[in-house]
């Protein structure tokens, strides 16, 4: 596969390095030194130039590229790159952004900015941290039908109230379809009596509200008690996002931020978080706020040195675990060596995510589940389709069993798929299809 990467910073170089063995990789960067470093360091074609310039992109062969990854440090440049590529090429585009606002827009209307897959560095880091804390979050959320429908993949945590219960028992969510259970790398299309177990991945398709509801009942944070005392030190973007993710799950985290303006801003954005305006490296203050009782401390200050100090101080005072966000990838090991339990580097996480996604997916599909065992795709029903003006229960008899109709949207509104639902020409269907049934399904529909 031919892959074009625009932006060869830490993220871009790291992706290039991990893909170079198996794919043809072309890298575009504006900085000649980086271009040189890549040319000699990796087996890739490096081109110097501005990636938002169509001529440069054409020189790099973007028409022939299967995947284009925009990974510069500037969100706007990345979106301009994908927008430009979208005008001349059918390549699958991946953009890395920092601002979650762009991600929200993209989730609401699929294909916005010409982006096919968007990764938010900060959100990804925040999600990794929340997972490290022990709260499962969706591994992957993809929008379909312009955001009316979402596909989400969750991992079932050990203490989930839904674990070891059958699909029939737990399927009380309005507008939600259980598309698959992935166990030991194999996708199972669930039937009523099938149980979900600890460690399974569950794929659900449905209305965004319902997906959210499912997420909260899969791992209810509402029962968060004193034992789930999370303290976030530093109101960076990642810190704010961690607070937001925890709030969504019913936690009431505390967040320490020294700048009065930023503290106010965070307090306004996060009603469920107690924001404290103080210097996090003041031991007396940490004592007063009972940091020794904290189960987890997340340190995410503006410099790695301060982050490290804050994390170690909190541990010294008595906090159980410390997670730190490290800006410089090379310090990750150092942090963990001196006593920080987990160090997370956002760029590294992003590069890993993009590389994983690129390796696992085939460019023409909409979303792919866990190591290529199944796919989720969306299409519009036309006259020729087996579904046209047919009840679902009749249509599916003609189709292989490895397929689930996840959702239907009609004129932009969600329709719950039931056996008696008649599918009309013009409806959009979101299907979950196992890999081996793929060809048959595509031919019939």
């Amino acid at each position: 596969m031919r892959i074009l990467i625009v932006g060869a910073g830490e993220v871009g170089s790291s992706i290039a390095a991990s893909l170079a063995d198996t794919h043809e990789v072309v890298v575009v960067d504006i900085d000649p030194e980086r271009v040189d470093a890549l040319t000699y360091g990796e087996d890739v074609l490096a081109i110097e130039g501005d990636g938002t310039n169509l001529e440069i992109l054409e020189e790099a062969g973007c028409e022939k590229a299967d995947i284009v990854i925009a990974s510069t440090d500037s969100d706007e440049t990345n979106l301009a790159v994908t927008g430009t590529v979208d005008t001349v090429s059918d390549a699958f585009t991946i953009a890395r952004v920092q601002k979650t606002a762009y991600l929200d827009t993209w989730r609401r209307s699929e294909g916005a900015f010409g982006v096919d897959f968007m990764v938010s560095t900060n959100l990804l880091a925040a999600r990794v941290i929340v997972q490290v804390i022990g709260i499962p979050t969706a591994r992957d959320v993809s929008p379909f039908a312009e955001g009316t429908v979402q596909m989400a993949e969750f991992e079932v945590p050990a203490d989930s109230p839904l674990a070891d219960r059958s699909i029939a028992e737990i399927d009380h969510f309005d507008g939600l379809t259980f598309a698959a259970i992935i166990r030991d790398g194999d996708a199972i299309v669930p039937r009523g009596p099938d149980e979900i177990q600890w460690g399974d991945q569950v794929v659900v398709i449905g209305r965004p509200e319902s997906v959210h509801q499912f997420a909260t009942s899969l791992a209810p944070g509402g029962e968060a008690d004193e034992a789930d005392d999370v303290l976030i030190i530093g109101g960076s973007t990642t810190g704010g996002l961690v607070a937001g993710l925890l709030e969504e799950r019913g936690y009431k985290p505390r967040l320490i931020e020294q700048s009065p303006d930023r503290a106010r801003e965070l307090a306004e954005a996060h009603p469920g978080t107690t924001v404290l305006e103080h210097d996090a490296n003041d031991v007396e203050f940490l004592e007063r706020e009972h940091v020794r009782d904290a189960d987890v401390v997340v340190a995410t200050l503006d410099s790695d040195a301060r982050t490290l100090l804050a994390a170690l101080l909190a541990k010294q005072v008595g906090a159980d675990r410390a997670v730190a966000v490290v800006d410089e990838a090379q310090y990750v090991e150092l942090f963990e060596a001196v006593g920080v339990d987990v160090a997370v580097n956002p760029r590294e996480v992003t590069a890993e995510e993009i590389a994983r996604f690129t390796l696992e997916r085939r460019a023409e599909n909409v979303a792919i589940i866990e190591s290529g065992t199944a796919e989720v795709l969306e299409f519009e029903v036309d006259q020729e389709s087996i579904f046209a003006d047919e009840k679902i229960k009749h249509a599916v008899q003609e189709l292989p069993s490895g397929m689930v109709i996840g959702a239907i949207t009609r004129e932009g509104a969600y329709v719950t798929p039931r056996g008696d639902t008649v599918i009309e020409v013009g409806d959009h269907l979101v299907l979950f299809v196992r890999e081996e049934s793929m060809d048959e399904v595509v031919a019939e529909v």
């Binding site: 009065p260 106010r264 009603p271 924001v275 404290l276 305006e277 706020e289």
Partner: protein, 513 residues
């Protein structure tokens, strides 16, 4: 002499425009006077007076450049001038008769009480035998005009106010900050007035429907219109001397929800009508408002039912204590009437014990919602003050916590909070300062109790209307000496405009810096 930095000519010229248009509502009593063949001249002369005064003031300035400062002066003086003009028919109609309104101070009191939707009266005898039906209807109409606001109405219909309109409405509309519902301020003003007119019309139709259905023998078309005007304005004037006690229980039940609607933020009606029917339930102020009314009603109903609140007096239509329907109805009616600052009475609550009266007295300080026609301190301010107190307690435990105060999820900035503290403090200070003056001046030679004097001040500054004792719902303010009445005219004026726009005009800095 320092230079004056306020373009007072522009302000007064705009007041002139409003006065000129005041002739239009004056046509309504004029037509009634012709219909009933009684009391034509006072209105004809008043129309001449207001048109002349309007044109005269308009000549002061042609530019009409209204800034924030001119806005305050314009709004404050509009209410004063309009009340002066509104007093003219009372003086002229009473001239040479035994009417207490012939005295200019009384006429001004009645007129200010009308436009500010207070509902305190100095009419010695309220009856169609003593006053023409046209004059009594004018009294009702002044409240209806003042309810949603004269300046808001002017902004809605006068194109020349479209630019400075937001400033003007901000100075007049009740509550902290106006909500622009539409891109154009004139459209917002029209939406508010439209909702106001629509609900008033609905109430009139339903009241008259009760009459036609035989459930309200004395709710004639005249009375239906008269009470429609003053319910939706949270006014409280009635052409009946016994207020709503004069009507059947069905009428009393029907008026309760309309008083509640009048105390609701009218912007909410706009949202409900434009496709957001659940908006009030998400609005924190509305939920608080509904909660206060429910709890207040429940407490008072219990007090009435167990006879704790009554000094063994039966209301017209049977005893209240022991009757679940009657105690609930009278409790709900009085609580809603006082809290929304309407000032109607379904029974003489003077007959209640001190406990019942004390509950109503506290209610006088609560007030309707922001953006409603009700007066006093208002729900939203109390709600925010309660939240601020809770925050104080929290920050005592966590001195470094940053906890913005939210209203319906939206954080409020500290400026808004300071404004709310400031307003509430000034309001209470004015109350505390005025009570001794009223006590000292007495009531027609008699001494007043502190509760009576306090209720008179609270009822005028809060635009409620009736107080307790000598000025109870079936009595009047006539016995106060002229200086007291003028003080109360000032209180009603200051109270309707929410204190700050009037007080700011009285400061030196306003004029010179």
């Amino acid at each position: 002499m320092a230079r004056i930095h306020v373009d007072w000519r522009a302000s007064l010229a705009l007041v002139g425009t409003v006065l000129k248009y005041l002739a239009v509502p004056l046509l309504f009593p004029l037509v009634l006077a012709i219909y009933y063949g009684d009391g034509l001249f006072p209105f004809a002369i008043t129309i001449a007076v207001t048109v002349t005064a309007g044109f005269g003031l308009e000549r002061l300035d042609h530019a009409r450049d209204i800034g924030a400062r001119e806005g305050f002066l314009m709004v404050a003086s509009t209410w004063l001038f309009v009340s002066l003009v509104g007093a003219v028919p009372y003086v002229l109609a009473g001239w040479g008769t035994a009417s207490t309104l012939a005295h200019p101070v009384n006429a001004l009191f009645e007129s200010m009480s009308g436009f500010t939707t207070t509902g305190a009266t100095v009419m010695g005898e309220i009856s169609t035998a003593r006053h023409s039906r046209a004059l009594l209807m004018w009294r009702q109409l002044t409240q209806w005009l003042g309810g949603m606001g004269i300046v808001v109405l002017a902004v809605a219909i006068l194109p020349e106010l479209s630019v400075g309109g937001a400033q003007l409405m901000d100075a007049e509309a009740p509550g902290p900050g106006i909500q622009k519902l539409t891109p154009r301020i004139a459209q917002t003003a029209r939406a508010l007035w439209g909702a106001y007119m629509g609900i008033t019309a609905l109430e009139i139709v339903l009241l008259y429907g009760l009459h036609l259905g035989g459930l309200a023998p004395n709710m004639t078309l005249y009375n239906a219109v008269a009470h429609g005007f003053t319910t939706m304005a949270t006014g409280g004037f009635s052409p009946e001397a016994r207020s709503i006690e004069a009507f059947s229980a069905a009428v009393q039940w029907l008026i309760i929800p309309f008083m509640m609607a009048a105390g609701t933020n009218f912007a909410l009606f706009w949202h409900v009508l434009t496709g957001e029917p659940s908006r009030p339930l998400r609005d924190e102020e509305w939920r608080f408002y509904a909660g206060v009314l429910s709890v207040g009603t429940a407490i008072v109903a219990a007090v009435l039912f167990t006879d704790l609140g009554l000094r063994n007096v039966a209301a017209i239509g049977g005893p209240v204590a022991g009757s679940a329907e009657a105690s609930f109805r009278h409790a709900a009616f009085q609580v809603v009437s006082i809290v929304t600052t309407t000032g109607y009475a379904s029974m003489d609550f003077n007959a209640w014990s001190e406990l019942g009266k004390l509950l109503l007295f506290v209610g006088m300080f609560v007030g309707g919602s922001a953006g409603s026609t009700g007066g006093a301190i208002k729900m939203v301010r109390w709600l925010i003050i309660l939240k601020a107190l809770r925050r104080e307690l929290f920050t005592t435990v966590h001195p470094d916590a940053v906890t913005p105060i939210r209203l319906s999820g939206r954080p409020l900035d500290d400026r808004t909070l300071r404004g709310i503290y400031g307003f509430t403090l000034v309001y209470l200070l004015l109350f505390v300062a005025a009570v001794p003056v009223v006590l000292w001046l007495g009531y027609g030679g008699e001494t007043l109790s502190v509760l009576e004097a306090g209720s008179a001040v609270a009822a005028t500054i809060g635009n409620v209307g009736p107080g307790f004792g000598a000025i109870g719902p079936m009595n009047n303010y006539l016995g106060f000496p002229a200086p007291s009445k003028l003080l109360m005219v000032g209180l009603m004026w200051v109270g309707r405009l929410e204190v700050i726009p009037v007080l700011v005009v009285l400061t030196r800095a306003y004029w010179t810096s």
